[in-house]
């Protein structure tokens, strides 16, 4: 019995037919198409759905639409007036308050409510007002700046002068390269305005005509055999369009590493973890789809779940997968140099064991996909992914389709951090359901489903042994790591290698031995998460090095300086370091943090700690071997030490009037700013301002292959492709310009939207472009990038960790600890990073700020927990704790002068490497404050208390 009611939204009446049971959020998004208000958790934990009701911010997922009648509802769509951004929106855009943008509408609505009451809020008042809005990208710093400085955009400038200004994240000491116009400019992201207005379309915001909604039925048990599935009742439910089970999906398995494809689209026989997919339905709406799931009858033969990795590898443990003997999915055993000799030569040897935590990326936007088939048999998939090409490749593999028959569209993506790097069951179920129903099918994960799909950070058990000489120089390092992999391989093969291989990139380690064992257990599969495999091993290494430095009486920063990596070095495991300003980052954090005045001199309960780290700037090799082709047809291909096909590819087409350049490159913008830095580098090469660039990165029909946003590869690899494509365009324009300027083509230079001859005469860039079109047709340039041949050594696994370039960074953390309760407050972070030449310093710092808050949260509060039956105990954002704006520290983020010869314009990565120093720095600060080391993550108050008690007795 629908009632027509009128909702007053943004000052306009909206008549809606209400059943009565809809939340305001669902009516806004689904009924009225006001999708600017986001759905991040649907349980009132994340704040992405914040709207104002009579001026008061509320979670619209927790209010019935019927209750909002007669009230004034304000949503993000009403904030900008006549297309002009409101001051708070301008502030978010210009101060770096926006990255993936999924939290932005809610964040802005909360800010508006706050500023309406209090135009000049203090930092504390801002934190109070925004504590209900979670952000996973920015570290809240850009957001705080935006709210604080909103006055500057109101034109009355009231905020900036008031005491309690946001602490500077940079002192302006970094000077960019003056030769460049666009490269090195801290311009706002290209998509910032759309995100600030709630106009950016995420996959879940998109509706296609006749669209059906799909849902997946997850297993309630952690381990069992499916005896019987009866779908008849579900099928009989009015509105249900299709129900599929394991019998209806291809036999072809999918996964990430070709040698370990071990997942079926839906389980064929066994379920391996709670939430493992058993069946899927499509129905006319989400509610019907959910109802249908509850009508599917499944009979299981329950098997005892194996949850502990050490139980899983015990002798008589039953096998979870037939193919993984001893439940070991990946086994690595490497030795470089002579470790025994190295330890014999060491003056100090220390052994310690560390334990990590299973954490989840928790991007604010849960996974979503929409599949539809075109009449010529082309599959079109809209999906929230970090790696559109690998999704396309996996669809080809599972469905036996040529790549040319698959079109992947990546709408705006609300964060990934690795969670969306592999192919998800949504991406595979939606096409099947769409084919059966003949309709587009949309599938969206709830927060819980996303967490049960998993792919978070492996929990690692790390046994370390480190040998140093009397000067603190590393002589030998041995590590044995057990990784709890969960039920499937996912990225796990690479994770296992990364966990060891990356250790020798930061310090000179002459002798190195690593054993890695990835174990299968009945929990959601783990995968790649920011810093892929390395943050926990790096945390453990940093802790151990600091412990030894303290014991030997060497300053922890000094011991790092003595062991620091140097430029142009081949590591003991055959990784080639090019540029390296690691020492400069150590010097800078030491000075800036006041380390010498503080270390060892702080009162009890206050601590300061150092942590360092760095990462690859792009994996040296693609995930699959051989050339791009329909993947299921392939026989096993032998590995060759070179890239078979280019990893990044770009096309630039100049519009016929010469006024804009369309850059087509398949990089995945997931919030990190990929499209913006691509535009900056391409504009630099073209000699035009960024404002004339348009980026088409979202559609595989438009843009050539880019391998995606993983392994911190986009800036370096995509950057080469776009700058080369830009240069190719300029080369084509040169003869035309030369004729117009009466000079030799070789002397023509494109700059500032003009083309210059050596004598200083110039013509407008667009006139040259127009002339080119008139005489020659389309003005197009292409560019591509392949990592150079021969990267890495010849031993098994030598490819993982190879990269054209490596980043370096150091972080100093200051924390206070309540010694009675063990409660930690992270007060201040000082970070310097060597990312080569930053293409956009403001965005580079945004990566640092976000990584610090994420990493600090991982260190002290984040962890997924399971009960004895393998059920997740905290599958939501009130049980799984992500730092709020109130928990985030103050951050100083600096960049050191550096130039990477292998990078475009000297650039390398900053996205993942910034996470790596954080965990160790926090752990050290806590140890420094308390006098005890906690060697298990997360370092909770409880664990600190236990350690303090143990130290006492």
């Amino acid at each position: 019995m629908a009632n027509t009611r009128t909702l007053k939204i943004n000052g306009r009446p909206y008549p809606v037919a209400l059943q009565g049971g809809e939340t305001l959020l669902d009516v806004l998004r689904d009924t009225l198409g006001l999708t600017g208000t986001k759905k991040g958790c649907n349980l009132g934990d994340c704040g992405a759905c914040t709207v104002l009701v009579d001026g008061t911010p509320i979670n619209s997922c927790l209010m019935l639409a019927s209750e909002a009648e007669d009230k004034q509802i304000s949503t993000i769509e009403g904030v900008a007036k006549d297309g002009e951004l409101a001051p708070i929106q301008k502030a978010f855009v210009n101060e770096g308050g926006i990255q993936c943008g999924y939290c932005t509408p809610g964040m802005i609505m909360s800010s508006i409510a706050l500023l309406n009451k209090n135009p000049e809020p203090s930092i504390e008042e801002i934190k109070d007002g925004l504590a209900g809005n979670l952000c996973r990208c920015t570290g809240y710093f850009g957001i705080m700046r935006a709210v604080r400085r909103c006055g500057n955009y109101r034109g009355d400038g009231t905020c900036a002068e008031k005491s309690g200004e946001v602490p500077a994240t940079d002192d302006g000491s970094y000077v960019g390269d003056e030769r460049y116009a666009s490269v090195g400019a801290s311009i706002p992201r290209l998509d910032a305005a759309d995100k600030a207005m709630g106009r950016a379309l995420y996959t879940g915001d998109i509706s296609l005509p006749r669209m059906a909604h799909g849902k997946i039925l997850g297993s309630p048990i952690a381990h069992g055999i499916i005896k019987r599935i009866d779908t008849s009742k579900a099928m009989a439910l009015p509105g249900v369009l299709a129900v599929i089970t394991g019998e209806d999906v291809p036999d072809e398995c999918f996964g990430v590493s070709p040698a370990r494809y071990d997942e079926h689209v839906l389980s064929k026989k066994k379920v391996l973890h709670v939430g493992d997919r058993v069946a899927a339905v499509a129905a006319i709406d989400e509610k019907t789809a959910e109802k249908a799931l509850s009508l599917i009858e499944v009979e299981y033969m329950e098997l005892p779940p194996i949850l502990d990795p050490f139980e899983a590898i015990a002798k008589d443990a039953p096998l979870i997968h037939e193919r993984y003997r001893g439940n070991i999915n990946t086994f690595v055993d490497q030795a470089h140099g002579d470790v025994e000799k190295g330890f014999a030569e060491s003056d100090f040897v220390k052994e310690e064991t560390f334990v990590g935590n299973l954490t989840h990326q928790q991007p604010m936007e849960p996974h979503a996909s929409i599949a539809t088939w075109e009449s010529d048999g082309t599959l079109v998939l809209y999906t929230s992914t970090q790696a559109p090409h690998y999704v396309q490749y996996m669809l080809a593999h599972v469905f036996h389709l040529p790549l040319g028959r698959i079109r992947v569209i990546r709408p705006t993506v609300g964060g990934g951090f690795g969670a969306k790097a592999g192919t998800s069951p949504l991406e595979l179920c939606a096409p099947i359901l769409s084919k059966i129903t003949g309709r587009p099918v949309k599938m969206v994960y709830s927060r819980e489903e996303m967490m049960l799909f998993g792919r978070g950070r492996h929990k690692q058990y790390m046994k370390y042994k480190l040998g140093l000489d009397r000067n603190g120089k590393i002589k030998a390092f041995e590590s044995e790591i057990h990784l709890d992999g969960g039920a499937y391989a996912s990225f796990g093969v690479a994770t296992t290698y990364y966990a060891g291989n990356m250790m020798p990139t930061l310090y000179h380690i002459p002798n190195f031995k690593y054993k890695g064992i990835r174990v299968v257990t009945n929990k959601p599969a783990c995968g790649a998460f920011r810093g892929h495999g390395v943050p926990q091993p790096r945390f453990a290494f940093e802790c151990l090095l600091t412990m030894m430095a303290d014991e030997m009486g060497i300053d922890p920063i000094e011991i790092r300086r003595r062991n620091s990596m140097d430029p142009n070095t081949r590591t003991v495991n055959d990784l080639d370091i090019q540029s390296c300003e690691f020492r400069a980052t150590l010097d800078a954090v030491q000075k800036k943090s006041g380390w010498k005045e503080k270390y060892g001199k702080l009162p009890k309960g206050q601590g300061i700690g150092i942590g360092c780290g760095g990462f690859v700037s792009g994996a040296g090799y693609a995930i699959y071997r051989g050339q791009v082709q329909m993947s299921h047809e392939k026989g096993p291909e032998h590995f060759q030490k070179k890239s078979i096909f280019p990893h990044a590819n770009a096309i630039v087409r100049v519009t016929e009037d010469g006024m804009a350049a369309i850059l087509m490159i398949g990089v995945a913008e997931i919030g990190q700013g990929a499209e913006t830095v691509m535009a900056q580098m391409c504009a630099e090469a073209l000699g035009i301002p960024v404002s004339r660039m348009r980026v088409r990165a979202e559609d595989s029909d438009i843009s050539p292959i880019d391998l995606g946003a993983y392994s911190s590869r986009v800036t370096l690899m995509g950057g080469h492709a776009v700058s080369r494509a830009g240069q190719a365009v300029v080369e084509r324009m040169k003869p035309i310009a030369a004729a117009m300027l009466e000079c030799d083509p070789s002397e023509v230079v494109a700059r500032d939207a003009r083309m210059y001859a050596a004598n200083g005469r110039s013509v407008p860039w667009e006139e040259v472009a127009r002339k080119y079109f008139n005489d020659n047709g389309p003005l197009v340039g292409t560019g591509w990038y392949k990592p150079r041949d021969g990267l890495g050594g010849d031993y098994k696994g030598a490819t993982v960790g190879t990269s054209p370039a490596y980043s370096f960074g150091s972080s100093v953390c200051e924390a206070s600890v309540d010694l009675e309760t063990g409660k930690v407050k992270i007060e201040q972070f000082t970070d310097y990073h060597d990312c080569g030449v930053p293409i956009n310093p403001m965005m580079a710092r945004g990566q640092v700020e976000g990584a610090i808050v994420m990493g600090a949260g991982e260190t002290i509060m984040e962890e997924i927990l399971f009960d004895e039956k393998g059920r997740m105990m905290n599958p939501n954002l009130h049980g799984y704790l992500v730092m709020t704006i109130k928990d985030a520290p103050d951050i100083f983020s600096g960049l050191v002068e550096s130039y990477e010869p292998e990078g475009p314009y000297g650039a390398k990565e900053i996205g993942e490497g910034t996470t790596l120093p954080v965990l160790g720095a926090v752990a050290h600060a806590i140890a420094n404050a308390t006098g005890v080391w906690v060697k298990e993550l997360p370092i909770t108050p409880e664990r600190i208390r236990t350690a303090l008690r143990a130290a006492k007795s």
Binding site: L43, G44, E67, G132, M873, T884, D887
Partner: protein, 295 residues
């Protein structure tokens, strides 16, 4: 795993009497809807599936806050945020306003109500400990008419209160503490917005250097928020001279308080750790209130 709300009908009540008679008419199948911050979550997670929601937010007069001689009368439909920002509450009983301020997040505080917080009878109900030490009482109305339930008799168990199935909370009466009494509410949680791992309220009345009265209430460490009577008794009437004997006494009181608690192991913390925190918070609460009383 399901997050779409199950089917239900909304019934709008315009008076407490109608609300109660609706509840009676749909006995066992209906729930009051006020803030909805707990109810709708439980419904989305299928922990509750009422056939009817009785929307009580339209009932007039239940969102008042009045100072009525020596007591505050706080209407049950006041939002948490309204209590936090109420000048009257801040002036008369600042502890109450601060307790409101540490409950959840701003958007949640703007929706959730006092009546909902109490009616849920969660062991960690943020208002439990403060209202217990203030010896507040809950006014409710039902078929049997109106009655006042003393706070100390209100909570019966996790999710269970002394409300009859057809009763509705209309008001909370809070006696303003004697002039010289000092009170504090302390909450321990990993993030400020989280549900309390331990909550402790202390009310202290010093008479010179004698503890004339002390009340201690604890939350999230027993099936219900409760008064730590033994700890109180150990302190009441004692001399507090700011000396070593005093600090030893406070230690002892904290220890007794900790022993009175019976927390469970859960996601937020282990029982043993929570017991320790109870002692800590009691000691801190006593020390803070004593210090303020001496100012």
């Amino acid at each position: 795993m399901q997050l779409v709300l199950p089917d239900f009908d909304v019934l709008a009540a315009d008076s407490v009497e109608t609300a109660c008679s609706m509840l009676r008419a749909h006995q066992g199948m209906a729930q009051f809807l006020a803030g909805g911050t707990d109810l709708l979550v439980k419904m989305k997670l299928r922990k509750l599936m009422p056939r009817y929601l009785i929307n009580v937010k339209g009932i007039p007069g239940l969102d008042q806050i009045n100072c009525d001689g020596d007591r505050l009368r706080i209407g049950a439909l006041n939002t948490i945020q309204a209590i936090q920002s109420s000048e009257t509450v801040t002036r008369e009983i600042p502890m109450l306003s601060r307790a409101a301020g540490v409950l959840g997040t701003m958007p949640i505080r703007n929706l959730g109500t006092l009546g909902g917080n109490l009616g849920n009878a969660s062991p960690s109900a943020e208002f439990g400990p403060p209202l217990l030490v203030l010896e507040a009482s809950v006014r409710c109305l039902g078929q049997g008419g109106e009655r006042m339930i003393p706070m100390t008799e209100f909570f019966l168990g996790p999710g269970k209160s002394a409300l009859h199935p057809d009763e509705m909370i209309t008001e909370v009466h809070v006696p303003t503490p004697p002039n010289r009494a000092k009170c504090v509410y302390l909450k321990h949680s990993l993030r400020k917005m989280d549900v309390a791992m331990v909550g402790a309220a202390v009310l202290m009345l010093l008479d010179g250097d004698v503890c004339r009265d002390v009340r201690i209430a604890l939350g999230a460490v027993a099936p219900t928020p409760f008064r730590a009577r033994k700890a109180e008794a150990a302190l009441r009437g004692s001399k507090l001279a700011g000396d070593r004997a005093e600090s030893e006494l406070l230690e002892e009181v904290a220890r007794i308080g900790s022993e009175e608690s019976s927390p469970i192991d859960d996601l937020r913390g282990a029982a043993s750790y929570r017991k320790r925190i109870v002692g800590m918070l009691v000691k801190q609460g006593l020390a803070q209130t004593i210090a303020r009383a001496r100012e």
